[in-house]
Symmetry: C2
Subunit: 459 residues, 2 copies
């Protein structure tokens, strides 16, 4: 391992420069205007795999954005680790809040990353993180230290719900055959308390519309005599969560796995500093479901959030209109044993039930995903924990994150192998937000941890 460590140190500058190249490509999967950039990014990722010596590299088209797939078999009798990541990124808006353009990466220190962080959309989510695996592979291969077979599956639609991945996986069981799936698309709890993610929430995402009058109306000539869709929608949204932070949708909690007091106290072992949490996101006060800690609210409780709302005149100045329609995007995070179909259906029923008869309501489901849990006594978790403990030189905790990687449960079902969520981001990295960044030390701790994982897993 000392050879590998030395190799990483010797190539540090280049490993950073190569990552910046990839961040420069605006591979925004949600916006059709960037289709070419997404395709270009796939080419660049494929080339990066070829360059480090992956035996077989393919760009596989889907009905959406392509998948980059790499195969490197050193001995069919050895275990195979499948690396999953994604090269697509979130839309960068609101653009005006970025200090520098989102696709012109640069390095600057932050409070959390005094050694410097790489700023740019996708730096942490997930370009910086999947690329750690490319560079770790390079380091292992260059030092003849590969201990098992490797496959790379880097997709281009994670930020739009991995729309075509499930079909791809279903049709390619043999190609994807593996013993464990290794994913770096999450964050550690903190540098002092690094962690392996052992739980992810699922997701149900819907778009709703409320229609009042058949056309936009003058708010003077009609105001007071017609239902205003913005008010109706506001009231409906307000009534989805009660004063104690519980979601009011009929039967929403029916299937929620309740953790035992022991499990809850284990997950609260991580020391959680509320002041720190508030300060890290400039928050006045936390808010959430009564009876749960912040770690629990995020880790083991289902939630509902409005991700967008719009209606009426939203330009400069004043326009006295009662709009015909108002819209919202609403997502729910799911925990074991809730399913996407169940919750989407319960939401739809309830949302229509609470609509007054003065308006017409529509609910359109977007993508969803199941929750995922990796028990902390499994071989897979323990290999990741030990690998990171070697790289960090610190105790590594199991941690239930609130985010969703909907494909984890699909992988497990289709490929019968466990997903290990060994991510190296930080919750301050501003992923999905302006000024997203990825700590340089995190990047290299990741590149170092991965060979340890290979070693531990193949023991």
């Amino acid at each position: 391992m000392s050879n590998i460590k030395q190799y990483i140190t010797d190539n540090k500058e280049r490993f950073i420069e190569e990552l910046l190249e990839i961040i420069r490509i605006p591979s925004i999967s949600a916006d059709p205007a960037y289709k070419k950039d997404v395709a270009n990014c796939a080419e660049v990722v494929a080339e990066s795999l070829r360059k480090v010596g992956v035996q077989e590299v393919e760009i596989l088209p889907t009905e959406g954005h392509p998948i980059v797939f790499g195969t490197h078999i050193i001995d069919p009798n050895l275990p195979t680790i499948l690396i999953y990541g994604h090269y697509d990124v979130q839309p960068p808006d609101p653009l005006n809040l970025w200090l520098k353009p989102p696709f012109e990466p640069y390095i600057a220190p932050t409070e959390v990353h005094p050694e410097g962080a790489i700023f740019g959309r996708g730096s942490a989510d997930d370009k910086g993180q999947f690329f750690m695996h490319v560079k770790a592979f390079e380091a292992m291969k260059a030092n003849n230290s590969l201990t098992c077979n490797v496959k790379f599956l880097i997709e281009g639609e994670e930020e739009v719900g991995s729309a075509h991945l499930e079909d791809f996986v279903k049709n390619n069981h043999d190609k994807l055959k593996n013993d464990v799936i290794l994913i770096s698309d999450t964050h550690i709890y903190s540098k002092e308390q690094p962690s392996v993610t052992t739980g992810l929430r699922g997701l149900s995402y819907v778009e709703v519309s409320v229609t009042g009058p058949g056309r936009d109306l003058h708010s003077g000539l009609y105001g007071g005599a017609v239902p205003n869709p913005i008010h109706v929608l506001s009231k409906m949204i307000a009534s989805l969560i009660d004063d104690e932070g519980h979601i009011t949708i009929d039967g929403f909690y029916d299937n929620v796995e309740e953790l035992s007091p022991e499990e809850r106290s284990l997950m609260n072992e991580l020391k959680d500093d509320p002041e720190n949490f508030k300060n890290s996101i400039s928050l006045r006060e936390v808010q959430g479901e009564k009876g749960y800690t912040t770690l629990e609210r995020i880790g083991i409780r289902p939630t509902l959030d409005c991700n967008g709302i719009w209606g009426g005149y939203i330009g400069e100045g004043a326009k006295t209109v009662i709009p015909s329609q108002a819209f919202a995007k609403i997502s729910m995070r799911l925990v074991p044993n809730q399913t996407v179909e169940e919750i989407t259906e319960k939401f739809t029923q309830y949302f229509k039930k609470i609509a007054p008869n003065t308006v017409h309501v529509q609910v359109k489901p977007h993508h969803g995903g199941l929750p995922y849990v990796l028990k902390s006594d499994t071989k897979e978790f323990l290999a990741a924990q030990r690998a990171m403990e070697k790289a960090f030189g610190k105790k590594v905790y199991p941690y239930r994150s609130g985010g969703s990687i909907p494909i984890t449960s699909m992988f497990e079902k289709e490929l019968s192998s466990k997903c290990v969520l060994m991510g190296f981001g930080m919750d301050t990295d501003a992923i999905h937000s302006p000024n997203e960044h990825f700590g340089i030390s995190n990047y290299f701790l990741g590149i170092e941890s991965i060979p340890y994982f290979f070693e531990e897993y193949c023991k």
Copy 2:
């Protein structure tokens, strides 16, 4: 008068063509991108006054858009009628709902206007209506039938709250001196029951923002543990109106003029067909303050409407964000004796009071205006009623409209003369909405009524 009628008939085609020319100019006062078009429109309006023989025509700059002013004195001892109108228009969005581009006017029949209507932004509000006065002047002058002096004040900022008009009026008392102010910027109740508008509501317009976390957050990693500004704003908006349609702002109704049962029954003389009302705007059900008819809800009751709301991701597809901020534009329509300052202040106090301590709230006042009432026993009202009865050949009713023309009360205060709101639009004209239009028969009934008003008023 028969000469005038004949002249109008003989010039019908030209009177329409000239109006279309003015509608073609996108004089959108709210949007700085159209500043040149607004200025160009002022030139065209001034030229139209010169062409019909108005003695002195000026384009007077303001700090915003210019005012077109015309003076025509035939005898200083005769009364002077000041015509007020505006050549600016509302923004045309949402553009995709227009059947043809908003500034490419065309003529087509509608159910209400089987004889044809002129479609285009500003056709009814207010280009078609102020231009009736230009053409009526032309007809009177060409037939040597002017019975009094005329002044024209056509401004370019009505749709942005007449920002610079008050200063202009205050500094030009002598120039503006008149006996009565005649305004066509309202609608008749219906073709069967034409009306003169005897009441307008005032306006208080504010923009609010709610800030939760200091930056946009990933809704998975944070959802459930932080206040979501969209939810908070939704709940605050929902709580501004109770289940009986009353506005909950402290002291909101303190100064509201309550009409006597006699006054209320007089205003309900107009036959109001609820089915017709609903159908005209494709509404499922009316909604409003308990204890009042639709005519009363619009005419004599103060109201609150959200005119716009936005926050979070509103693009295509799904983005899992908890936004840092959410925004809304909220307007209140005022009735006698509410004032803009009073209501804006009460709103601000209340909105801050109901904000939870997890968020930061800002309230920014936009423009406002006082309500206006013209009693139906005044010389001014009676002249308008008789003029229209001659042109329409039908009984003409007094009608309290719900809209606002904030400058009416300012005119009365500054110039000590009454405003007569003799408008010829229809409530189906879709002003402020896509596919705004103005009936051709309304246009010519207007052009015909105006000389009758001159005659009646100068008797």
